[in-house]
Subunit: 372 residues, 2 copies
């Protein structure tokens, strides 16, 4: 990619949050993710969370939030209650454990995560509104597309974010980002947990991101996913939407498992994708993963760094600062850079969580499709 | 409306199911509504349902299906199990009751119903495939539309079914059906539980229904819903989509509470809607409802039956044969007919349930927008 242009791009990126201190809240607030009519869980000003549920006949109740288990105890009204430690800002899955059974809290909206229907809680971040609804920007649509997969011999569903201007420009064609969820999640995650539609509406309205289509597929189809994406999803999207059907105007990005797929499917098909985003992937090595070996993983870079870079308009990698994957990710980025790879790397506060992923798509969207 | 044309229409309608006897199944089948990887609940050939869950530490477990409570008992493997009576074909909400707490089953997909996130089970109906995916028909889209409501001063979401041909006919304009969910449900119900997109794809492909847009809104906004629909939703849809923006090409229909809204909002605004569908509404009187008084409810019919009929192209009413609402609905239909109202009335097997509603939209869609 053109270094100078890239340098300008980096300057053009706006950071997700102002970092302003928390605005004083009038004590505990019901979470924005609660079900209608439910007062608890409540987020306290210090971001600790109070849970309170009515379970008159249960013997043992606990809250499981991000894998941390907190036992609940009965208060004077006979309600089970616990206040859990201050949480990182952003979206977290949680469950109630009722006499040993982990279930979604009826007082929360439900989200597909942890490979099941989970409750979720959104912890606000001070000075951060880039993913919150704005009454004053034109809104894109999210379209639910059903199509028949010959690979699976069954019906599949994907979601497509369509920018607000799409309908007003009947002759204009658009670049496409294929954006994948993480392990144990599905094609609804980037909209429901990630707020990608809200983030894109705001960036496009501000002129900070190119209007683009964003396709969100279900990635847990085993080894077939690459085949489905390349042979069925992309042709379907290119035939149904006004796309610019070439690699420079096509991107693949994803979080965690989806980041690994952006590498194994996206980066391995430069004739299809010239823009790659890898958010919080474990593929760079670590406790649960094989060591990252450039020789095996990216021989094309070693063979011809110039050609490797020329094939890519954007090679973006990000990770949460407290994500266990950060060390190996940074090391891999360094190794690839030493061999001449041009990489845009960012670390965001937080762990293996949605807030860094919201910030990753917010930044990636400002960088991609700019030098066409 | 034109009687003769209407008579022809009635002939043109195809019934939803062949009524063929059940095809022999190889014993119990995991429900189509189960979460990925979950074997139970299983539907037996006689439509009884076997539930089996692992709850080692629970003292008391039960299944609540359609309000019927079945206690579970531990089997030899220490799993809680129960086989419930044969169920009516169609979609039913259910819950697990774990030591007194009613929660959604993690082994089911979750649906918004009964005013909470519920588990659901789809019981197949022999000879009935009008709502099952067909690999050979062009598929419409469901678009998630976010817009700002001044009435509520907040963001709202509605879903819009867009027929497959919409994108191929950039100059063609389409009629619009506003289709409302029932009490305790939301704007996702007609697609997720009702399979309206699948039903419409098949009818349109067979040439049995006019290609139309179907808008599904959230109706539980108190007294404001009529104001929001008439002053905000309809203008938004007419500006964003290629609609035919007149009463003859606009319909309102709904189930249960949504049927009452089709009466109180739709039928009361003939200048906006010339097509009305009321499915399984309690508004015609009964135990939980005030008696139906034509004088109060429909003075315009008594005042001028001819004008009343001329304002409507379709006045459709349906109810489940075993729905407690059927008696009062039939009586009200008779009363209105005696006063000269032209009404298409249908009763379908089943109670206050989704299968009659799937059959109602399947029939309504074949009758509406035909004589324009």
């Amino acid at each position: 990619m053109k270094r100078i242009f890239h340098a300008l791009l980096v300057l053009a990126v706006i950071t997700a949050c102002t970092g302003n201190p928390a605005s004083e809240t009038a004590g505990p607030q019901s979470a924005s993710t609660n079900a209608p009519g439910c007062e608890w869980p409540k987020v306290n000003p210090d971001l600790s969370v109070e849970f309170k549920v009515e379970l008159p006949d249960a013997d043992k109740v606990a809250v499981d939030i991000c894998g941390e288990i907190y036992s609940m105890s009965k208060d004077e009204d006979g309600l089970w209650t616990v206040t859990v430690d201050p949480q990182e800002p952003g979206f977290h899955y949680y469950f109630l454990i009722i006499d040993g059974k982990r279930v979604a809290d009826p007082c929360s909206q439900h989200f597909y995560g942890c490979a099941t229907m989970a409750s979720g809680i959104d912890i606000p971040e001070a000075g951060c509104d880039f993913y919150l609804p704005d009454g004053n920007v034109p809104r894109g649509e999210v379209r639910r597309e059903r199509y028949w997969s010959r690979v699976e011999d069954g019906a599949r569903v994907c979601y497509v974010y369509v920018p607000a201007e799409y309908g007003q420009n009947p002759l204009k064609r658009y670049p496409v980002l294929y954006l994948q969820h993480g392990g144990g999640e599905d094609e609804t995650g980037w909209i429901r947990q990630g707020k990608t539609d809200v983030i894109m509406d705001r960036l496009i309205a501000q002129g900070l991101a190119e209007p683009m289509l964003i396709v969100m597929e279900f990635g847990q189809s085993g080894g077939d996913f690459g085949k489905i994406l390349l042979e069925e999803t992309i042709p379907m999207i290119d035939s149904k939407f006004r796309t610019i059907a070439d690699s420079r105007h096509r991107a693949m990005a994803g979080l965690s498992m989806g980041g690994g797929q952006s590498w194994s499917i996206g980066l391995k098909h430069p004739e299809v994708f010239a823009n790659i985003g890898i958010f919080s992937s474990g593929m760079f090595g670590g406790v649960r993963y094989a060591p990252f070996d450039l020789e095996t993983e990216l021989p094309e870079l070693l063979a011809d760094p110039a050609a490797f870079n020329d094939n890519l308009d954007l090679f973006y990698i990000s990770c949460g600062e407290t994500d266990p994957r950060i060390t190996h990710t940074q090391a891999a980025v360094e190794t690839m850079r030493e061999k001449g790879a041009e990489i845009h790397f960012s670390a965001f506060p937080g762990g293996h969580e949605w807030q860094p992923w919201r910030k990753s798509i917010h930044e990636f969207a400002q960088l991609v499709f700019k030098n066409n």
